[in-house]
Symmetry: C2
Subunit: 154 residues, 2 copies
Amino acid sequence: MMENRHTLEKLFELAVRLGDEMERGLRERRLTRARAEVLWLLHRGGPQAQHALSQALCCTPRNVTGLVDALETTGFVVRGEHPTDRRATLVSLTEQGQSVLTQVDADYQRFSGGLFANLPDADVACFAAVLEQVLARLSPDTPASCAERTRAGA
Amino acid sequence: MMENRHTLEKLFELAVRLGDEMERGLRERRLTRARAEVLWLLHRGGPQAQHALSQALCCTPRNVTGLVDALETTGFVVRGEHPTDRRATLVSLTEQGQSVLTQVDADYQRFSGGLFANLPDADVACFAAVLEQVLARLSPDTPASCAERTRAGA
DNA sequence: TATTGTTATACTCTATAACTATA
DNA sequence: TATAGTTATAGAGTATAACAATA
């Protein structure tokens, strides 16, 4: 089907544009997409050890070290002692981290609200339904624990 | 609207999964997304100077130098003399480059065909329509010349 | 004087491997 | 023996700045 190919191309195009849009907002707040993902995980899961972040982000422990280093340097997170495991590091949001996340969240909320504004509800519902179907079709080979890295940092 | 936010998150999730899927195929053929984009441009536009690639990819000339270096090393493209401008380099696909592109194209065709298979035509049409609408809503601030980098390398 | 592509340098994300401290 | 996180090293993509050759 030629139309399917065209639709897939448009889907990629939209994804790239939306990603760029998100990234622009993050950059203003001195964040990157990968670092923002870490903040989201900490926001939703509370203080965590790095290995937990590593699993949620589907990346290597070494990668987490780098991201946490950067976030610590810029003041968004702090490393602390793990209460029960002295090997582990407990990563927590600072007040600044919490604050910037609140702003990013508001941006995201505003953006998603405007994106589908003025479109018929039925169309948006249909769009969302196809989205779910196609996603379900791809899901089997992707571990659920890696779901976090799909939000484009917001 | 909370649902809009959820839909946007799903959209990002789908984009990431599809991108990963595409990238897997590229990696098997010793290509990356960025390099595959260069091959597509050469396929569709014929032999070109690097500054043309730079504009189409929305990246710096330096970046193109790196990509073309890598593609030349791996045998997918060759640098040649520009017929009229001795400052410029003419980048062309090799036979190997042409061949791998044909394979990637076939992958993409097959993949896009399967993605929406068994879904009601009306739903797919509605999906595509919303896609276009949302894209049009974002388009103004993105230069048309940068459209190429949106195909996820395929 | 402007453009084309390069070298030099740097930053970000990512990965593997070897190692230390702890479990 | 296995796990948590580090250092060491590497590769990919991206960027700015300075520079050479050419227009």
